[in-house]
C-alpha cells in the first residue's frame, strides 16, 4: 500500500468499517506528506500538539487554492462559515456568545435542567419497541434522540425534521474530502434560508429554545449579526444530527462485540461514564479533522510542514497510539488516564461535548436495561458514507422483547 494514497484509502468507503489498520500503518511515521501537498498527522502527541498550535488555522480563507475541505460559500456575506471555521478573535467572539446560552457562568443550569426532558425522550423512543423482535438502533434510537434534543434546545419544530434531515446530512457530507462540494453548498443555502425564517419568527414570538435569547444576546463582543446567528444555529443543528448518533450507535456496536463488558454494564450502570469515554477513544464519532492550514512552517517530529499546507489531524489514529495508550486496540472501560482526543482539544474542543456525554450517559443504560437478549444481526453493520463523521448507517439487532 502506497503512503501517497493514504488519504484516498481513508476516505475509500471500502475501509469504512475498519479504518484502524490504515491508521496503524500511518503511525509508522507521525507526519505523512500526500501527493496533493497535504499532511496527515497520525500520532497522539503530534496531533495534540498541532491542535493546540496557534500557527495552525481553521479559517478557510487561508486554504491554498484547490485544496479540499468543507463546502462553504466563503465569498457570500450572507453565508459566513460557522465558528469552527474561524480563528480568534472572531472565533472567540462567536463561540463565547453562543456559550452564554449553553453553560456556565451565564447559564450554569442549562444542561442539568435538560435531564428530565432527555429521560422522557429516551422513554418515548424505547416504549414503541414493545413487541418487536428486531430494532435498528440507528433509526429507532441513536438518531432520533439527539435530533429531538437539539430541536428542543434550538426551538426548531420537531415536525420540520424530515425537511432538514436531508439538508443536515448533505451539508455534513461536505466535510468528506472525497465528495463534491456543489450539493453541500446548495443544501447549506436552503438550510440557511429555513433557519433565517425560523430566527425571524422566534424574534417575533419567542417560544421555547435558545434561538430567541441568542438573537437578543449581547456578549462582551457585541451581538451576533443575523448571518452569524444563522451560521451558529446551523452548526449546532448539524452537530446535533451527525455526531451523537454515532456515539450512541458506536457504543452499542462495541458493547455487542464485547459481551463480557456488556454483561458487566447491565449489572453496573455506573460503568457508563468510563465506558463512554473509552468509546470516544476507541471508536470516535469524529475520526479526523481534514481542514486546518499551516500559517507558517511548522517543525514537528522531524518533518517541516510548509507554510500554506493543508493538515489533517487524525484523531481516531491518535487515540490508538501505543505510545500514549497501553494496548490501544483493546476496548477497556477501566482504562486510567484516558485523555482521548475524541472531542478534539484546544480552542476548538467540541462545544457540545457536555451535552453529547449527557445524552449518551442517559441513553445507553436505559437501552441495555430494556432490550432483552440483544443479538447483532450484521457485523460489520452497513456504514454511513461520511469518513469524517463515521458510524453505522443501520445497526440491526434481534431482541426478545422489551422490559418495562
Amino acid at each position: 500500500m502506497s503512503l501517497a494514497t493514504m488519504s484516498a484509502q481513508i476516505t475509500d468507503f471500502a475501509n469504512r468499517a475498519d479504518p484502524y489498520p490504515l491508521y496503524a500503518a500511518l503511525r509508522e511515521s507521525p507526519v505523512t506528506r500526500q501527493d496533493d501537498g497535504s499532511y496527515l498527522v497520525s500520532t497522539y502527541y503530534e496531533v495534540r500538539s498541532l491542535a493546540n498550535d496557534p500557527r495552525l488555522s481553521n479559517d478557510l480563507r487561508n486554504r491554498p487554492p484547490g485544496a479540499g475541505g468543507p463546502a462553504v460559500a466563503e465569498e457570500d456575506p450572507n453565508q459566513p462559515p460557522s465558528f469552527i471555521f474561524h480563528d480568534p478573535p472572531e472565533h472567540e467572539r462567536l463561540r463565547d456568545t453562543a456559550m452564554r446560552q449553553f453553560g456556565p457562568p451565564h447559564s450554569p443550569r442549562f444542561l442539568h435542567d435538560m435531564r428530565e426532558d432527555l429521560a422522557k425522550i429516551i422513554t418515548d423512543l424505547l416504549d414503541p419497541l414493545e413487541g418487536k423482535t428486531e430494532v435498528d438502533v440507528v433509526d429507532d434510537f441513536a438518531y432520533p434522540l439527539p435530533v429531538t434534543a437539539i430541536c428542543k434546545i434550538l426551538g426548531v419544530p420537531r415536525e420540520d425534521e424530515p425537511l432538514f434531515h436531508g439538508w443536515a446530512d448533505t451539508v455534513a457530507s461536505g466535510l468528506d474530502p472525497s465528495q463534491g462540494k456543489e450539493k453541500p453548498r446548495q443544501a447549506r443555502v436552503e438550510l440557511g434560508a429555513y433557519l433565517s425564517d425560523l430566527i425571524d419568527s422566534r424574534r417575533r414570538h419567542p417560544g421555547n429554545g435558545i434561538l430567541g435569547p441568542l438573537a437578543r444576546e449581547t456578549g462582551p463582543g457585541g451581538s451576533m449579526s443575523k448571518a452569524e446567528l444563522v451560521a451558529t444555529s446551523m452548526l449546532l443543528l448539524i452537530a446535533g444530527h451527525e455526531t451523537t448518533v454515532n456515539l450512541i450507535s458506536n457504543t452499542t456496536l462495541t458493547l455487542m462485540r464485547h459481551p463480557d463488558i456488556l454483561k458487566r454494564f447491565q449489572s453496573e450502570p455506573g460503568l457508563v461514564v468510563p465506558l463512554i469515554e473509552e468509546v470516544l477513544r476507541y471508536e470516535p464519532p469524529v475520526q479526523f479533522v481534514p481542514f486546518t492550514i499551516a500559517l507558517s512552517d511548522i517543525d514537528i517530529a522531524g518533518t517541516t510542514i510548509p507554510k500554506g499546507s493543508q493538515v489533517w489531524l487524525l484523531l481516531a489514529s491518535a487515540n490508538r497510539d501505543p505510545k500514549r495508550f497501553a494496548d490501544p486496540d483493546r476496548f477497556d472501560p477501566d482504562r486510567e488516564d484516558n485523555q482521548h482526543l475524541g472531542f478534539y482539544t484546544g480552542i476548538h474542543y467540541c462545544f457540545g461535548a457536555p451535552l453529547a456525554r449527557m445524552e449518551a450517559q442517559l441513553a445507553l443504560p436505559q437501552l441495555f436495561r430494556r432490550i432483552e437478549n440483544p443479538r447483532l444481526l450484521a457485523d460489520p453493520p452497513p456504514y454511513r458514507v461520511n469518513p469524517v463523521l463515521r458510524g453505522p448507517r443501520h445497526l440491526p439487532l434481534a431482541i426478545d422483547g422489551l422490559v418495562a
Binding site: 500538539s49 493546540n52 498550535d53 496557534p54 500557527r55 495552525l56 488555522s57 479559517d59 480563528d87 480568534p88 478573535p89 472567540e92 500559517l295 507558517s296 512552517d297 507554510k307 484546544g346 480552542i347 474542543y349
Partner: protein, 464 residues
C-alpha cells in the same frame, strides 16, 4: 551500607514520615502506596484538618459558592497512614533519624519527606495585626473567618498587597458589591509576577470593576478603636482610609523554623534540594534519606539556568510530590528529575490569568496573540533570545504550545505567523520587572572552620 541495597527492605517494611499534611504531602503518600510501599506511613500536620485544597479559599469560598469545610482534597486511593493532625513538627534529629513533635512525641523514620509549605506573612506590627478586622488568608480557618466578615457587609475592605491573593480578594469584594481599596507598593498589581507591561492590564481591570486601587504607596499603620476594632489605615502618601477590614496579602513565609539546628539547607527561602527532591544539608551536600516537595522546596531547574526555584504553585506541589515519593523508594539509577515547567493560574474580575515558565527571568516581552487593550492575549517573555515564559489573560488554552516552545528553547521573539496575531506590541519591549538588584534577602549563612575536615556552613539568624 549501600543506599540502593536496602531499597527492597525499605519498600516492604520501612518507616516513612511525611511532615506537612497538605496537597504535596497527600499526593506523595498516595504515590508511595501506588508504587508498592507497604511499610509504615505517618503524616504530620499542624492543622487539625485532613488535607484540603487552597485555590478555592480566595475565590469560591469567599463568594459563598463553596464552604471552607468542603474543600477536602479528593483522594486518588487509600493510603493507610497514621495521621498526626493538629500537632506541628518541632525539630529534626538527623543523627537519630527522628522527627520531634511539639507534644514531645518522636517519630523515627527511614525516609523523611518535608512538605511543610508556607504561611502567610503576618502584618509587621503585632498589636495592629491583633486588631479585630485584620486578616491574613492562607488556611481554611482564615478563609472561613474572612468569609463571615465579608458576608456581614463591611463598609470598606482594605487589601494590603496586590499580588495574586490580594487581587483575587479584591475581585471577590467587588463581586459581593463591597467597597474595596487595594494598596500596592509597586506601580501596579501583579508586577512582581508578570512585570509592569502586563500588570497595567491588571490595574485597568481592577479600576474598571470599581476597585479603589492605590499604587506606589504602602500602608504604614492600622488604627483601631478603644474596643480593639480596626477603624482606619494610614498610607505612606499621608492619606488615611476608614476601613472595617484589612486583609494582609504580603506573600508567604516558608515553614522551615522547625528545621533550625537540623543542619539542613533550610532557611527563609525554603529547603534546598536537588532536582530529584533530595534535600541538601547546610554544606551543600545532598542527603539520601530526606526529601522535600511543594511550596517549601527550592530546587535547581535545568531549563532555567539551574536556578534554585521555589514555586508556590498547585501543580508544582503535585508533580514534585510524586517525583519525591518515587525517588525515595528506588535505586539511584531509577530516580527521576523534577522537570515540571512552572505554571499557575488565577481568576479575578472574570478573567482567567495563566502563566507558564518563569516570567520574572524575562528581559523582553511581546504580545504574541490577542491585544492588551481587550484583556485577552498571550504575552511571551524572552530571555537572551529564547522563549522563557508566557502569560495569558483569557487565552489559557494556548499555553501548552508556549510550554513546548520553552522546553524546546525556541528563539525569541517568535517570528512565525499565528492566529490572532495583532498589532499590539509586536516589537519586543522591556516587561518592566522591579529591579532584581535591590536586595530583598540578607545573607543567611556563614562558613566556619579552617582545616578541610572542619570547614562547614552555618545558618545565621536574620538581623532584626
Amino acid at each position: 551500607m549501600s543506599a540502593d541495597g536496602d531499597v527492597k527492605a525499605l519498600r516492604r517494611k520501612g518507616r516513612i514520615v511525611v511532615v506537612g499534611a497538605s496537597l504535596a504531602g497527600l499526593r506523595a503518600a498516595e504515590t508511595l502506596r501506588d508504587q508498592g510501599f507497604t511499610g509504615s506511613l505517618t503524616l504530620v500536620g499542624d492543622e487539625p484538618y485532613e488535607p484540603y485544597d487552597r485555590p478555592p479559599l480566595s475565590k469560591q469560598v469567599l463568594l459563598g459558592l463553596e464552604c471552607a469545610e468542603d474543600t477536602a482534597l479528593p483522594r486518588t486511593r487509600d493510603i493507610d497512614a497514621e495521621w498526626r493532625l493538629g500537632v506541628a513538627a518541632a525539630g529534626l534529629d538527623r543523627a537519630a533519624k527522628d522527627v520531634r513533635l511539639v507534644n514531645g512525641d518522636t517519630l523515627p523514620y527511614d525516609r523523611l519527606l518535608i512538605t511543610t509549605g508556607t504561611k502567610a506573612r503576618p502584618w509587621f506590627h503585632p498589636e495592629e495585626a491583633a486588631l479585630d478586622g485584620v486578616f491574613v488568608l492562607r488556611t481554611r480557618d482564615d478563609s472561613a473567618r474572612l468569609f463571615r466578615k465579608l458576608a456581614a457587609g463591611p463598609r470598606r475592605v482594605l487589601v494590603i498587597g496586590a499580588g495574586f491573593t490580594g487581587s483575587e480578594i479584591a475581585s471577590v469584594c467587588r463581586e459581593r458589591d463591597v467597597e474595596v481599596t487595594v494598596a500596592e507598593r509597586a506601580p501596579a498589581p501583579l508586577v512582581g509576577a508578570l512585570g509592569e507591561v502586563v500588570a497595567t492590564v491588571a490595574a485597568r481591570l481592577q479600576r474598571d470593576h470599581g476597585v479603589d486601587l492605590r499604587c506606589g504607596v504602602s500602608v504604614t499603620a492600622l488604627e483601631g478603636d478603644p474596643a480593639g476594632r480596626l477603624r482606619r489605615a494610614h498610607l505612606s502618601d499621608g492619606s488615611a482610609i476608614d476601613v472595617d477590614v484589612a486583609v494582609v496579602c504580603l506573600g508567604a513565609l516558608r515553614n522551615t523554623e522547625w528545621l533550625a539546628g537540623s543542619g539542613l539547607a533550610a532557611g527563609p527561602r525554603g529547603v534546598a534540594c536537588d532536582a530529584g527532591c533530595r534535600v541538601f544539608d547546610a554544606n551543600g551536600i545532598v542527603t539520601d534519606d530526606i526529601y522535600a516537595a511543594g511550596d517549601v522546596a527550592r530546587c535547581p531547574h535545568p531549563l532555567f539556568g539551574y536556578q534554585f526555584l521555589s514555586l508556590e504553585h498547585w501543580g508544582n506541589a503535585v508533580e514534585q510530590a510524586r517525583i519525591a515519593a518515587h525517588n525515595m523508594l528506588c535505586a539511584s539509577t531509577d530516580r527521576r528529575p523534577h522537570l515540571w515547567v512552572p505554571m499557575f493560574w488565577s481568576v479575578q474580575f472574570g478573567v482567567n490569568i495563566k502563566s507558564v515558565g518563569v516570567p520574572t527571568l524575562g528581559d523582553q516581552l511581546v504580545v504574541a496573540q490577542g491585544a492588551l487593550d481587550e484583556a485577552r492575549f498571550v504575552a511571551v517573555y524572552g530571555y537572551r533570545g529564547r522563549v522563557i515564559a508566557a502569560a495569558s489573560f483569557d487565552a489559557g488554552k494556548w499555553l501548552g504550545f508556549y510550554q513546548q516552545q520553552i522546553e524546546a528553547g525556541a528563539p525569541f521573539p517568535p517570528d512565525y505567523a499565528l492566529v490572532d496575531r495583532r498589532t499590539d506590541t509586536l516589537q519586543p519591549v522591556d516587561p518592566a520587572f522591579p529591579d532584581p538588584h535591590l536586595p530583598t534577602h540578607e545573607p543567611t549563612v556563614t562558613v566556619t572552620g579552617h582545616s578541610p575536615t572542619e570547614r562547614r556552613v552555618q545558618f545565621v539568624a536574620p538581623h532584626a
